[in-house]
Symmetry: C2
Subunit: 353 residues, 2 copies
């Protein structure tokens, strides 16, 4: 078994360990941040971690009512003209904790007196050293170049923090304990997807000679679209482009013709009707649909349905919805006879400035 496949299968255990070991820490961090009166959040990340940041943007916006911006690291590292950050919470997300441009954002945040948080798999990394607070991922060493378990762990760490920061008295649905209970059930939902691996391994054959595709999601699963597209690119050297379905309508939909493959992520929730309408629109233009969803009515529209277990609330769905995409990318690689652990031209740690 490849490292990649093993690490995909470690995810339920990794997520459970993270929840067990970091819930108290997240509460402690949240209490300190509340005392400091954070007004907005800046997230700094690259690659897979940047996709986790996209999830954070929706999560902290919707549940914690915090405006969230994704950092422009080059303003810190190359231009050396950083914005004022005093009133923000600066979060750096990085598996290795070593990319200099991400470290530079936290360094500047700290210099300006803003609270800084590192979410990383290496609590001894330069990123952690620049942070007032650290949430370690406890994912164990990730040996495959393509990140899987550290991605779902990053999402889980963000969800933990959002729960701990939570409790808007005007909205009972934001109650921390209620949300934490739902989060505790996520590792089991991931387990159930892994049980369906054989179905996915059989489905990839059809896509052996696919050269391009688009991956589409919106809202919470905008992040999932980007992360699945990245796995397809890293592991299969495909041109796989991710879009918000709304942005896709504003121009790029022009590429969709007969047989054009489109992987749609559309779990049940507030975004579902919008995504269903969009999916039927691209189907009418001839798209070949691959659909990740827990809604049978939508899965029935797909050439290749990739079902999710029911019962995961939408705000947590990105942690489970990425898993069929990870498995799809893995098995497509195996079908092509490529090495899933050492994709051509990539290294595990990328140091950008």
């Amino acid at each position: 078994m490849s490292f990649l496949q093993a690490e995909i299968h470690q995810q339920p255990q990794v997520l459970m360990a993270l929840l067990d070991r970091e819930t108290e820490n997240a509460r402690h961090i949240a209490a300190e941040l509340r005392a400091q009166g954070v007004r907005y959040v800046i997230l700094a990340a690259r690659g897979t971690s940047d996709n986790a940041a996209r999830y954070g943007q929706y999560l902290f916006g919707a549940y914690n009512r915090l405006p969230v911006g994704l950092a422009t690291p080059s303003l810190f590292s190359v231009y050396k003209e950083p914005p004022r950050l005093e009133e923000g919470l600066i979060i750096g997300i990085s598996q290795s904790g070593r990319s200099p441009d991400i470290v530079a954002v936290l360094e500047e945040g700290r210099r300006q007196g803003a609270p800084t948080l590192a979410i990383t798999n290496d609590p001894d990394s330069p990123l952690a050293a620049q942070a007032d607070y650290v949430i370690p991922l406890h994912a164990g060493e990730e040996r495959a170049v393509a990140a899987t378990k550290t991605y779902t762990a990053q999402l889980t760490a963000l969800a933990l923090l959002s729960c701990a920061l939570g409790d808007d008295p005007d909205r009972p649905s934001t109650n921390s304990e209620y949300r934490l209970a739902a989060l505790q059930r996520v590792p089991l939902a991931v387990e159930r997807i892994l049980d369906g691996e054989e179905h996915i391994a059989g489905a990839v054959e059809r896509y052996r000679y696919m050269e391009t595709c688009v991956v589409l999601g919106r809202g919470y699963n905008y992040a999932t679209a980007f992360e699945i597209a990245l796995k397809l690119k890293e592991l299969n050297y495909l041109i796989a482009e991710a879009y918000s379905s709304a942005d896709f309508m504003h121009g790029p939909i022009a590429v969709v013709g007969s047989g054009f493959p489109a992987l749609v992520i559309a779990p049940d929730g507030k975004m579902f009707d919008t995504m269903r309408h969009f999916t039927l629109e691209i189907k009418s233009r001839g798209a070949e649909l691959l659909i990740i969803s827990d809604r049978q009515d939508l899965l029935a529209e797909a050439v290749t349905p990739l079902p999710l277990p029911e019962g995961v609330p939408e705000w947590l769905s990105p942690i489970v919805a990425v898993v069929p995409g990870q498995l799809f990318a893995l098995h497509l690689t195996l079908t092509k006879g490529n090495d899933p652990d050492r994709p051509q031209g990539l290294q595990k740690v990328t140091l950008t400035r």
Copy 2:
């Protein structure tokens, strides 16, 4: 002549008219915003306008030291769980001013008491109606589906506002009048690129059967990479994906093999050395390079050099650097025998919720 070609050629006049008619208005808006003590900026936009927003993120961050976030419109329109915005400046950018999800962001900003600004070609639009301040683009009707003159006008409007907000006494380079003078010279630089149209019309032949490519920029020209990729998609039904060169290194670079076409935007400035290093890296991996730059040493590395006039400062380079990309996309369409004014499957105004 197509509308598209005519509108590309109208750009110098459009930008001059905008500078002539809106400089005082921008100063007035900036004075009011300074009095209100804005702490951060949220930009809401889709499609081409969202690429203008990406430029704004660097501009307001570097010169006005404001943290900038790109809005997540679905939190407003679909989830109806908007973040707190009281201390932000909310800017909506839209050619038509009619996309409901973008209007919803300004509506919520106004409801919460945040100052709102619309940058639009239609001062009678629903977006303008929700705004405390409007900067009209004065671009005249844009009849081609693919936006060109309204994009460079949006960039120019953002640059005007940044100049007017400016004046950090610690950094003389941020002096408003000095920056405004440089901005006044941009329309002429655009004119000079249009003079080189014939060279570009001759260069597109080689790419008649290109099916995929990547477009790469970073910092200020991150926006340019996205906008040129969007023109190639809208007009040529290509799979053209845009990346920050730093994000590209974190995974997607795996797709680059022998002959893979990469369009790089790398004008002179603080980002140049980083981009040159990156460009030589992908060249060593076999990429076929198309390069937009004012640096002869880098242009010499390209199969297809697309030169820029010298003397435009980096912070204004996106307004000129997109123009060779517009011309390239136009002439590639003509070479293919497609209609540049009516790309298949697109409408001029896209109403997303």
